[in-house]
Symmetry: C2
Subunit: 271 residues, 2 copies
């Protein structure tokens, strides 16, 4: 590492801090990954996207594996004072390390062309809460989904809170953003992907659906669910059965149960 960056009021620090604003992210095509988990996954899985890594002396000692991997990947690594790091961050406890990354979403056409023959896709539409969106992306990654599509009317996936909630999964699974949901559904259908609306009012129970074919789970807003026209555009409206007296599951729980039912069906298929 070169000179230590010590001035929390420098233009560079201000430029990094400005990435907490959506308009700045859109204009620059960059976003900030905060904390060791997100930075490690960025450096490990998508080093070509990492523009700069900023780390305090303390954090560099605690996370030598990240620093070593960043050096091996010949990334720009900068030591900063704790004041500078805090000034760069949205988080209250940034844990000493952040990375400025280029946005990583892929065009819808390219993403669909890259799908395997039996694909598992997760579509989020009108999801507004950053924590929910991030948790669903994490769940999709864990369940082995091939693609996550976050439609235009949802929270920005590069929002610092979304990035944190994915705990690195943002760098693991291909993501499409900003496409209107109607266009997403039409393109998936044209590709032969069955459209399964996840909805507490669905007529089909989760265990009644064929999850061994190519399919996409379509998830709606955390409070009011899917828009009627989105639900109607899907092939099946599926509900997670409620065995007790709970009224419903929340979005992240329902999404995880559906995605893991798909993962289990794929697993039993391949043995």
């Amino acid at each position: 590492m070169g000179n230590v960056l010590t001035n929390p009021r420098s233009d560079r620090v201000k430029a990094v801090r400005a990435l907490s604003r959506r308009s700045v992210r859109s204009r620059t095509g960059e976003f900030l990954a905060e904390g060791p988990q997100a930075v490690r996954e960025a450096v490990r899985f998508r080093p070509e996207l990492v523009r700069d890594v900023y780390v305090t002396a303390d954090a560099a000692q605690r996370h030598t594996e990240i620093v070593d991997e960043a050096r091996e990947a010949r990334l720009f690594l900068h030591e900063v004072t704790p004041d500078v790091l805090a000034a760069m961050c949205d988080t209250e406890t940034p844990q000493g390390i952040v990375a400025v990354c280029r946005v990583l979403d892929v065009p819808l056409d390219a993403a669909l062309a890259a799908l395997p023959p039996t694909a598992l896709v997760c579509v989020l539409t009108h999801v507004r809460d950053p924590g929910n969106a991030g948790t669903v992306i994490r769940g999709a990654d864990a369940a082995g989904a091939d693609l996550v599509i976050v439609s235009d009317a949802s929270v920005d996936v590069y929002n610092p809170k979304v990035v944190r909630s994915t705990v690195g999964s943002l760098f693991h699974v291909p993501i499409v953003t900003g496409v209107p949901v109607e266009q997403v559904l039409a393109a998936l259908r044209a590709k032969g992907v069955a459209l399964l609306a996840a909805d507490g009012g669905g007529q089909t129970l989760l265990h009644q659906v064929d999850l061994t074919r190519s399919h996409a789970w379509v998830m709606g807003n955390e409070a009011w669910g899917l828009e009627p026209e989105v639900r109607d555009a899907c092939d099946e409206v599926v509900r997670v059965p409620i065995y007790g007296h709970a009224e419903s599951l929340n979005l992240a729980m329902a999404a995880t149960v559906c995605l893991y039912a798909s993962a289990e069906a794929r697993r039993s298929l391949t043995g």
Copy 2:
């Protein structure tokens, strides 16, 4: 309803507000259910526990079904001004209705005696985050669990944030609290309930476990998981398989996936 309560500094209001403190809940044996969802479930499922319902004129109009059910159950129903309601509450947006309830946890022995022949139990130990605890209780209810046991080293289930996160499920499923986890595990084992530790480091995969017998899922702390001695005291250490590159699932997601795997096994058993 009688006279409208208008004084936010009255002794009654102070006594209700004090229920946000654990020491006061312990001493009085009461807790506060906030918001229409929690109050409706309390009135509907456990009216014998409800001491007083407090509602603003606006909320009484919006939630006539709750007011009607409370009247039919001959509960004490008090109209209050919005100022009084706000002064009673922990929540910033209490939505106009709260109920003071008696605590509802049951003794461990009685709870075990009431279990069905093939039981599904959820044990939480060292779970500290109120939102996580509440979400797992909600998931256990949804999956049809027969009993939830929250061991002594966990967050208080009557904490206002836990109560809110259960979205009424606290009133649906029998709950045991405050017993040391070693004692819980010994009692479950004596009852013939298989002890399944949910742990990301487990050797057994979720789909390899026999979930058609009586079993308990034992879940640990959201950050560091189960204590080694708790894990060792269980019959099997089970992990939810990760199909993608995610490091793990969070507590609530892992718990929901495990509980729903149990629900699905029970469903296929009964047809």
